[in-house]
Each structure stands twice: as structure tokens, then as C-alpha cells.
């Protein structure tokens, strides 16, 4: 435990101290220092953005505040007095409530059980659960976050990703917390849902609750936050009032002096070439006859509200969903009933659910990276011994190209931060040299710098002759990356935008079913 230094605080010394304060926080993992003498403070009634690149240490700091991990050294203060946060119960007792980046919900349980997991379901006749009151209280909370129609009895596993995210927020709001920490809650939310969330945050902030808000979407920062703290490499870069920074100066602080972020668009400079991917009449339980073409050299966006087609098109193309219709790759009809056939046909998927569908967290970075191309590393088709040396050098090459930040290629993928984990998934398909890339929200939870890298990657994949299909929950991304955007509403294409016609507004209007742009 380090001795608390008497540093000049920005806060006035008259009050007992800020609502929450972290001093000199250090967290060591084997081979990594995830937090390096980090300082942070939160005032009652403010929304405080905690920003930083992937792997900067945001989640680690939050986990320490939540009692999920123990700091190697450092102190936590509440109202100016030192406290111990040794486990989640203690954090809750101190009034700290957290939406973690991953794993906030138990999918097998109902919405009500998840929302009230911290607070308790309530009892009647001594021991029995009082379901009626539990459902009533849950409904009230769901009401507040804009999900009035969600049945509290529904199993969370039956919800869409965005609904799950909102339920996680409802869970954090359910407790009588003074500090609410949201670690990338907006990753899979739609703009309207983000707005609902923000208005709730503002309302509660006015009641005196302090919010810590982590996001990689910088526009959100300026929408909702009072102050901004930027982290880099586990340490503090600085804390500012929101008004002191603008988008560009914030980015400079985030990425550091040496790196510069390209602000240019990543759209094509050369005309697209031959058609690589063609789908005709995709029809299933959501899709109602979708036609689609993607050419070599082209990045094609597919946009829709959740559950109305964009994700479903990707899943259908990749054989994850049963649909009728025809898929042609380079003009040849391919029968794609499962992912294996999709991969064999030259398709690649960067799935939205990175942990559940993109990675094997207990395997090494190398093993994850070569998962789709083991065939090209085996000695022969009979013994099938793996040539590890070649694996190592090729993975190292690709990961260097992606500027992966890791403790070594033999480290388990589990130890990577969100953005770096995504790079491993993308690296997998670079090693496979796929022809069609299906990027399903590839920039979710990715920092501003890596986002730009991924845009650049999508572009260079296309430039090198691949067709790229792109979806996102951030509509600005379509504008920056896509050459063409298909907008779906209720399972059907309602419009196609190209070039300068691609705007956030036009996409939004179309996806709400308003045909006239």
C-alpha cells in the first residue's frame, strides 16, 4: 500500500473530498502493468468520461472499483475517507454500481431476475420470492430506460444484443447507488436508445449520482459528459472540463503526440471491379427477398434497425441462418448452408459477439489467428502435423501489420483488451486470404485509433481485390467507410445510397421506413 501523497487536488479542500477518488492505483498482471499509478476522482452529480485507447486500463480500473479484482497497490476514497473494496459486496455497500464491459447478465435467467440480481427479488411468507412485486419493480425500471413493452419474465437469452445492453443498464440503475459506472454501455445500442440512456443519466446526475462513463464514441462524450479523464498505458494523461476540449484535441490526448489520426474518408479511389459476391432473393424468417451485390474493391454497407435485416443478411450469407435464395461467389453459385461451406467459398466473418463467436479465449493469440487456415500450415494431408515455426512468423507478420498490443503471441487471447482481441479476429481472415469479408460491427468497443485502422483495413482489403460487406451501429461509419450502403427496413431493401448521398440522416430516415429521402 503506497502512502497517500499530499498532492494539490483540483478539488476544493473545504469539502471532505470528492465522492470517489482513486490514488496511485497500480495493477500488475503477469507480464503486464495494466494500471500504472493512476489517479481519478468523481464528483457527485457529474457525468465523467473515462477515455483511452484499447488496453489503456479503463476496464481494469473499473473492475478494481467494483471489487472484481484487487489492486496491487493504491487507495480508494469515498467522501474523502479511505475504503477497502475487496469484493463486489463491499463495492455495493459503498454504493458503487457497475455495468461491466462483458458478462453483466445471466442469459438463462429472466429479465427481472437479472435486473434485481443485486438488490434481491424480494420475499413473501418468509422465504418465497415475491414474483409479483419483483416484476412490478422491474417493469418500472424498464419503463424508465425506454423499454416499457419488455416482459420482465422473458429469458435474457431470447433478447437482442441491444435489449440486453439496456437490461444491463436497468440492472445498474436498480440499486441505490451513489456511483454508477458504465463500461462501454453503448457499444451495441442504437442512436435512439443511446439518447434514452443519456437522458436517464442526466436525470440521475441531477439527483446527485456520479457517473463514470466509458466509450469509444467521442461524439457521445460531448453529448453527455461534464468532465473527461484520459488514460494511456495504465496511467493518467489528464482531466478536463468537457468544454476545454474539442473532438480533435481530445483525439490528440487519446492517442498521444506521436500518432496522428487520419481524418480522411476511407472510400474508394478507384472504380469497383468484377462482382465477387452476389445474393439473390434471400428470404427467411426476417428477410423478405433481399438482393445484393458486392464487387471487388468495394465496401458495401448494410444498415437497418436491429432485427430488421442487416445482421440477418450477414448471418444468412455466412450460412448461420436458414434462408432461401441464391448466393454466387465470383459468378459461381455456391451452396452455403453452414459456416464451413461459407469459409470454403472464400467468405470471412468478423462477428459482432467477439467473445462468444470470434475467439477461443483460452487459446493463444497464435492459435486463434490461424484457426481458419490450419490447412495451410500442416505438413501434409495425412499426418497433418502443424508447422509452428511458419505459423509463428506469419502470425507475427500479420499482427505487426495490425499493430497488435499484446504480451506475446503465445499469451492467451483472454488477456487482451477489446480492441486488440478484434485485431486477432481480423488477422485470422487475413491469414486465410478470404475473398468476401463480412464485417459485422467490426469497430464495436474499438478505440478511435484502432477504428481508423480498421477502416483502413477494410479499405485495403477491398483494394486488394476482396469484396467487403460492412455493418455498424454507428451510422457515421457508413459515411466514412462505405462506397455503397443498402438500407433495410422490415427485412427488405428500401434504398441504396452511394457516394455523397450516404449521410447519417438519409440512412436513418430510410431505416425507419421513410422511402422519400
Amino acid at each position: 500500500m503506497t502512502t497517500t501523497q499530499n498532492e494539490p487536488g483540483r478539488e476544493s479542500a473545504a469539502r471532505p473530498g470528492p465522492l470517489l477518488r482513486v490514488r496511485e492505483a497500480v495493477k500488475d498482471y503477469p507480464g503486464t502493468r495494466a494500471l500504472d499509478h493512476m489517479d481519478f476522482s468523481l464528483e457527485a452529480g457529474e457525468v465523467h468520461a473515462l477515455l483511452g485507447e484499447n488496453g489503456a486500463g479503463k476496464s481494469t480500473l473499473i473492475k478494481a472499483l467494483a471489487g472484481a479484482i484487487a489492486l496491487t497497490s493504491g487507495t480508494v476514497e469515498i467522501d474523502g475517507s479511505k475504503v477497502e473494496v475487496r469484493n463486489p459486496q463491499q463495492a455495493q455497500a459503498l454504493g458503487i454500481s457497475v455495468v461491466h464491459q462483458h458478462g453483466n447478465l445471466v442469459p438463462e435467467l429472466s429479465v427481472a431476475e437479472n435486473v434485481l440480481m443485486v438488490e434481491g427479488l424480494g420475499r413473501r411468507i418468509g422465504v418465497l420470492v415475491d414474483w409479483r412485486s419483483a416484476h412490478r419493480r422491474t417493469r418500472a425500471l424498464l419503463d424508465r430506460i425506454g423499454l416499457p413493452d419488455l416482459d420482465p419474465r422473458r429469458e435474457v437469452s431470447s433478447l437482442g444484443a441491444h435489449e440486453q445492453a439496456m437490461v444491463a443498464v436497468a440492472k445498474a440503475l436498480a440499486s441505490n447507488a451513489r456511483v454508477i459506472i458504465l463500461d462501454e454501455p453503448t457499444t451495441s445500442l442504437q442512436p435512439a436508445e443511446v439518447d434514452t440512456l443519456f437522458s436517464q443519466m442526466r436525470r440521475l446526475a441531477e439527483e446527485g449520482i456520479g457517473f463514470v462513463f466509458v466509450t469509444h464514441r467521442l461524439n457521445e462524450v460531448f453529448k453527455v459528459c461534464d468532465r473527461i479523464t484520459v488514460m494511456r498505458d495504465g496511467g493518467l494523461v489528464g482531466t478536463w472540463q468537457a468544454g476545454e476540449l474539442d473532438h480533435d484535441s481530445l483525439v490528440d490526448q487519446l492517442v498521444g503526440a506521436e500518432k496522428a489520426i487520419a481524418h480522411e474518408a476511407f472510400t474508394a479511389t478507384a472504380p469497383p471491379r468484377e462482382v465477387v459476391l452476389e445474393a439473390r432473393g434471400l428470404r427467411g424468417d426476417v428477410l423478405r427477398g433481399v438482393d445484393l451485390q458486392a464487387r471487388a474493391g468495394e465496401v458495401v454497407g448494410i444498415a437497418s434497425l436491429p432485427g430488421e435485416g442487416a445482421g440477418e443478411v450477414v448471418e444468412s450469407l455466412y450460412g448461420m441462418r436458414r434462408v432461401h435464395g441464391e448466393v454466387l461467389i465470383e459468378g459461381t453459385p455456391r451452396r452455403i448452408r453452414n459456416p464451413q461451406q461459407a469459409v470454403a467459398a472464400g467468405m470471412a466473418l468478423v462477428p459482432r459477439d467477439r467473445l462468444g463467436q470470434g475467439l477461443v479465449s483460452d487459446l493463444s493469440i497464435r492459435e486463434n489467428a490461424t484457426l481458419a487456415s490450419t490447412k495451410s500450415y500442416r505438413t501434409d494431408p495425412v499426418l497433418r502435423l502443424m508447422r509452428r515455426g511458419r505459423e509463428r512468423s506469419e502470425v507475427a507478420e500479420v499482427m505487426a501489420q495490425l499493430s497488435l498490443k499484446s504480451g506475446g503471441l503465445e499469451k492467451e487471447v483472454r488477456t487482451l483488451s477489446g480492441g486488440n482481441a478484434q485485431k486477432v479476429v481480423i488477422g485470422r481472415w487475413l491469414l486465410r486470404q478470404a475473398k468476401v469479408y463480412l464485417l459485422d460491427s467490426p469497430t464495436a468497443a474499438v478505440d478511435v485509433h484502432t477504428k481508423a485502422e480498421i477502416y483502413g483495413l477494410a479499405r485495403s482489403l477491398a483494394d486488394n481485390g476482396a469484396a467487403v460487406v460492412f455493418t455498424s451501429t454507428e451510422l457515421e461509419e457508413f459515411v466514412r467507410v462505405c462506397d455503397r450502403v443498402l438500407v433495410l427496413h422490415d427485412g427488405a431493401v428500401v434504398g441504396e445510397l452511394a457516394g455523397d448521398d450516404i449521410t447519417v440522416n438519409s440512412i436513418m430516415r430510410l431505416s425507419f421506413g421513410r422511402k422519400s429521402v
Binding site: 467494483a66 463495492a91 461491466h100 445471466v106 443485486v118 434481491g120 437469452s157 441462418r321 459477439d353
Partner: protein, 339 residues
């Protein structure tokens, strides 16, 4: 674990009028009720083949009686499995429980059978909680902990008994647990019913039970939500051990002998089978009390039916395996199809 499924499944709430196809509904029904249907089919077939013997109310209670011990043990195991904890010590625990009760009563250590039973149950809770401590605080997998503890218990009961079976001196007050009847209902069945109801309410209707499902679903989430996860391993394995000991005592009371070996082993695999069959019923993928009851009944009906038909023993093994396979297959096949 299965957050993957969540994403692939289409959200129904937000999408406008997306009607579920009737085939989807049908598949859903079949997968949920496949095991029950198999149970009904077995009953129907045996009733047709041996109407005078199988389809009698006497045989109905007979089947219940025959499965009651398996049922009690399997129900306790279900609680452990809800949290993903394999309890292999229940074989040794059942043997120990039955033996100790007989020994203490035969030797007069405890005058009252009720006291002896309660002491054995308390001891079982302690041993089960010990399993839980090693699992939760030592971080060893339940499989290996309970296997090791099972071995210790086996040794202890062999040592205590000097391998001798106890037959005389067991008071009637104890034997009644296995041989008595309430009205037409044999006592073991009464115990089965009590255990089933209590554990059903416990798992489905109490906060503790719901926490157990939360832990079984995602222990890390449960921990981060402030649920004292470790403590629940003690509770779950304690309950499992107590049920095993109760089962062992009922076996002993039923036959009137305190055997120092092999009592629990008979039920070990069948208890797992019943719980796993149950996990393919009604709520596919979850262990739950109702499912386990159905699993136990399925096993009981198959065993009873085949034995009543006088089927050769080797055929009993084989046919039993085939029926189990078909029953679970019926339930699961369609679940798979859907995805």
C-alpha cells in the same frame, strides 16, 4: 457460456409482426415434451403388453417405491448440477448414511431413530459443505474433490464396520422409514414426494435457489452482482450429500440391513442419468427438479416394465440403453434442428 445463442436468435420484441411459424411452435413443443412423451409411450407399451400386471395401481406404487431412493439421490444431485457441480461422493455418502444410522441404532448410541436420522443428516451436511469448501475456496474442480471424498468415505465406512453387515438390533422405528406406509403410499414414496416438493420450492421459488441458477448460468456475473458465490457451493453440495444420506438410510430401512459397501454405487450413474434426462425436458439445457422427477420415472418405468415382462437380463441392459437413447434423442434432436 451460451451468450453466442443469444445473438443468433432474432429479437422478437422490437421487430414488427414477425409471426412464429407453426412448425417452430411444434418443434418447440416436441422438444420440451419429448421425454415426457417417451415416458407416456413406455407406460402405454408396457400396459398393452402386460395389462394385468403393469397397469395396476399396486404396480404404480411399486414403481414409485422402486424409484424413490434413486429419486431422492438424483434430486439432491440436481441441486449440485444446477451450479455445475458434479457430486461423485454421493455413492459413498449414501453408504455411510445408511450404515451409520443402523450402527448407531443397533448399538444404542442413539435411542430414538429420529435423532439418529437427524444426526446422520447433519453429518452429511457437514461433509457436503466440506466438499464445497474445497471446491470454492481451494479452487479444485468438484469432480475430483467429490471423487476423493467419496473414496475417503468408502474407506471410513469399511473401517468402522470391519466390512460387517448389520442386520439385527435395528429398531422398527427406523425400519418404518423404508417399510412403512401412509395409507396406500409406501414411506419411501412419501419421502420422495417431500424431497421433490421442498427442493422444487427451494430452487424455483426462493432467493437462494434463484441465485444458484444465476451461479450455474454465469458464476462470474453472479459474483460481480454481489452474490456470495463461494458459499453456494457449500449449500449445494451439502444438500446433495444430505439427500444421498437420506437415500442411503431409506435403503437400509427398506431392506433392514446396514451394508458397509456398494449401497450408493448402485445409484450413482442412474442419478446422473436421471438428472441429465431431466435437463432435456421441459426446459432444455437446464437441470431442474421436475425434469429430474421425469428422468427418474422414465428409468423406473423402463426397469420395472422390462422386469415384469421377464425379459432376459442382458436384454434389459440393452433395451434400457436403447429406450434412454430414444427418449433423450426425441427431445434433443428437434432442439438442434431449430438452430
Amino acid at each position: 457460456m451460451s451468450s453466442s445463442t443469444a445473438v443468433a436468435e432474432s429479437p422478437r420484441a422490437t421487430g414488427p409482426r414477425r409471426e412464429t411459424s407453426t412448425s417452430d411452435k411444434l418443434i418447440d413443443v416436441v422438444s420440451r415434451y419429448g421425454t415426457i412423451a417417451s415416458l407416456v409411450a413406455c407406460v402405454a407399451i408396457f400396459s398393452l403388453l402386460k395389462p394385468d400386471v403393469f397397469a395396476t395401481s399396486q404396480n404404480f406404487f411399486n414403481i414409485l417405491n422402486q424409484v424413490s431412493i434413486l429419486g431422492i439421490i438424483a434430486l439432491g444431485l440436481t441441486v449440485a448440477l444446477v451450479q455445475g457441480l458434479f457430486d461423485l461422493s454421493l455413492a459413498g455418502m449414501a453408504t455411510l448414511g445408511g450404515y451409520l444410522a443402523c450402527k448407531w441404532l443397533a448399538e444404542g448410541t442413539f435411542g430414538s431413530p429420529a435423532v439418529a436420522v437427524l444426526v446422520v443428516l447433519a453429518l452429511a451436511l457437514v461433509i457436503g459443505a466440506f466438499n464445497g469448501v474445497v471446491v470454492a475456496y481451494g479452487g479444485v474442480s468438484a469432480f475430483i474433490v467429490t471423487l476423493a471424498v467419496g473414496s475417503i468415505l468408502t474407506g471410513v465406512v469399511l473401517g468402522v464396520s470391519d466390512s460387517q453387515t448389520i442386520l439385527s438390533g435395528i429398531p422398527d422405528g427406523f425400519l418404518i422409514m423404508g417399510q412403512g406406509e401412509i395409507g396406500p403410499i409406501p414411506m419411501p414414496v412419501v419421502f420422495l414426494a417431500i424431497v421433490a416438493v421442498v427442493l422444487y420450492v427451494f430452487l424455483e421459488q426462493t432467493q437462494l435457489g434463484r441465485h444458484m441458477y444465476a451461479i450455474g448460468g454465469n458464476a462470474e456475473t453472479a459474483r460481480l452482482s454481489g452474490i456470495p458465490v463461494k458459499r453456494y457451493a457449500l449449500i449445494a453440495l451439502g444438500i446433495s450429500a444430505a439427500c444421498a444420506a437420506l437415500g442411503g438410510m431409506i435403503v437400509a430401512a427398506n431392506l433392514g440391513v446396514g451394508r458397509p459397501q456398494g449401497v450408493g454405487d448402485t445409484y450413482l450413474l442412474d442419478a446422473f442419468a436421471a438428472a441429465f434426462i431431466g435437463a432435456s425436458t421441459l426446459r432444455p439445457g437446464r437441470f431442474h427438479i421436475l425434469g429430474t422427477v421425469i428422468g427418474v420415472l422414465l428409468i423406473g418405468v423402463i426397469n420395472n416394465g422390462l422386469s415384469i415382462m421377464g425379459v432376459e437380463t442382458f436384454w434389459q441392459y440393452a433395451v434400457r440403453g436403447i429406450i434412454l437413447l430414444l427418449a433423450v434423442f426425441a427431445a434433443s434432436f428437434l432442439v438442434m434442428r431449430r438452430r
